[in-house]
Amino acid sequence: MNKFTLHTGIAAPMDRANIDTDMIIPKQFLKSIKRSGFGKNLFDELRYLDEGLPDQECTGRPLNEDFVLNKARYQGTSILLARENFGCGSSREHAPWALEDFGIRSVIAPSFAEIFYNNCFKNGLLPIVLSDETVEQLFKEVAATEGYQLTVDLERQLVVTPAGEEIAFEIDEFRKHCLLNGLDDIGLTLQHADDIRAYEDKRKQQAPWLFGAIK
């Protein structure tokens, strides 16, 4: 997994609530058995005017010029600014895969849907929760200044604006640790294999019907 430590990049405003994972990556692209290559279909139905097909070459497709990520000033965006309940709906991890593949490193919103939030951390993508007021302030600043960039400092848990304003954010210790070091959860959990076996032995005594039944 990619590490996330310090990142500075162009921020783009996705000004709507409840952006769902169907919107982030429509279902026809979930047929891939790979983990990469989803970036060209990120926000496919918002980004292009035609209907996207799996394995289709996307250069040359008609672009929706009104869509924020298609605008010249937001080329190279790596930080998304969004409204409440970002990432709701389906559990598809293809959503963070698509964001990451497109070049997004962090999403800032007042709230996230849980499964999406969780999936981000497995993919080196940092979701940041800030208050409604702060998000509103950032929306205004982004709109006012072309080339507006934010810096995200995970170690210090700060979002830094171009004016130097430092905005603190919260994050679980465990998630922060994994992201800073690019750690693989499975390896960490297997360090506790003895605890898992001990629990499993106890479980076999309590609920023997759960063992050996499915075959």
Binding site: D15, R16, A17, N18, D20, D22, M23, P26, K27, Q28, L30, K31, S32, I33, K34, R35, E45, E51, E84, N85, C88, G89, S90, S91, R92, E93, P96, S111, A113, E114, I115, N118, N119, K122, N123, D172, E173, F174, H177, D185, I186, T189, L190, H192, A193, D195, I196, Y199, E200, R203, Q206, A207, P208, W209, L210, F211, G212, A213, I214, K215
Partner: protein
Amino acid sequence: MAGKTLYDKLFESHLVRQNEDGSSLIYIDRQVLHEVTSPQAFEGLRLAGRQPWRIDANIATPDHNVPTTERSAGVDQIADPVSRIQVKTLDSNCDEFGILEFKMNDQRQGIVHVMAPEQGAILPGVTAVCGDSHTATLGALGALAHGVGTSEVEHVLATQCLITKKMKNMLVRVDGELGIGVTPKDVVLHVIGVIGTAGGTGYAIEFGGDVFRNMSMEGRMTVCNMAIEAGARVGLVAVDQTTVDYVEGRAFAPKGAQWLQAVEAWKDLVSDTDAEFDEVVVINGAEIEPQVTWGTSPEMVVGVGDQVPNPANETDQVKIDGINRALQYMGLEADQKITDIKLDRVFIGSCTNSRIEDLRDAAKVVEGRKVAENIIQALVVPGSGLVKEQAEKEGLDKIFTDAGLEWREPGCSMCLAMNPDKLGNGEHCASTSNRNFEGRQGFGGRTHLVSPAMAAAAAVAGHFVDVRELIK
């Protein structure tokens, strides 16, 4: 000390390890796998040289991509090459690792959340995950079940555990009795309308009160299924005699002495009377009307006798923008009557509403009637091969086809249109599925979520109609 909620009990009884950083390692008794969210997890195991921790905790079936038309020639017959590869990949992964899979033409194949409880693979008191957000369905059995992403599918395959954090507890209590023609789907849509699409975020929702106590297991599954549409990863209903009766005799349920031992253990799977919930929502069941969603989020829902909302009545700008965008996408006018919404297609199916009871409800409405002329297609897609068989035994297939609906093979179908069943651009669909997001059922498609009875009524009327007028 206050008593424990059902969620607390399930969580605590599966705790393997409490980590210093506040996260918890919990044991997962069951994982259900399907073709869309598992290939990268199996690939991850292979790349790391890992084996599944426990083979007998897993069960698999293809559902999202499978065609629902005649498919006796097998997987090679799947027309879409990418869908075909995905289904074949599940088959080969399960074969390679020795995981039990009900392949496409096995009669036990079906939508994961229909198949797993039907087989007794999910039992009261277990923890279960699946790479699908509607895994919440399984909480209807008093199991702690939720959707996970593909990295977590791999994590559970490799370790039989999940790193998680305890959720908060919410009780949604629906008291009293439901009116005639008002179904579990209407109850859960109404609940989502009340608490909002993010209202349950961070919570495990327990559904309590007379309405759920008197509800069948099928109905409870419909309700828990849509907990995620209120933001809650987990929906739960306490175990009672209805649960025990449902489980008894199923293929992977305990038998003999173990059955008696299990039933005894399951008696504790209720919230203590003095349990404290972080949030309690109380609704009067008698006031719930048949529901119809008008917009592009499940919280955009009203009673069938109501009108499409008017943004002029709102004050919050984000909300006003949301309503305007939804009206434009859906091609509707503010204040338009719900019963004036004309429909093009009808879909009866999905992990929310494709169980036998759902099909009976729909059949009752269409029996002796005909699908309206303006309806291009009305699909009935049973949730599993076994549901299909039962429905055919009862003659429901005949009722549907006589009325002009199509009777299909089991799968996810038009709920998310990964297979050939989809809406055309701009078409309105009365759908018994769970999400009305933009493009969900096909590019530019317009989804209205309803109960099976309401979908059936819409099929014969050609527009929304209060089903209570048809079943008087």
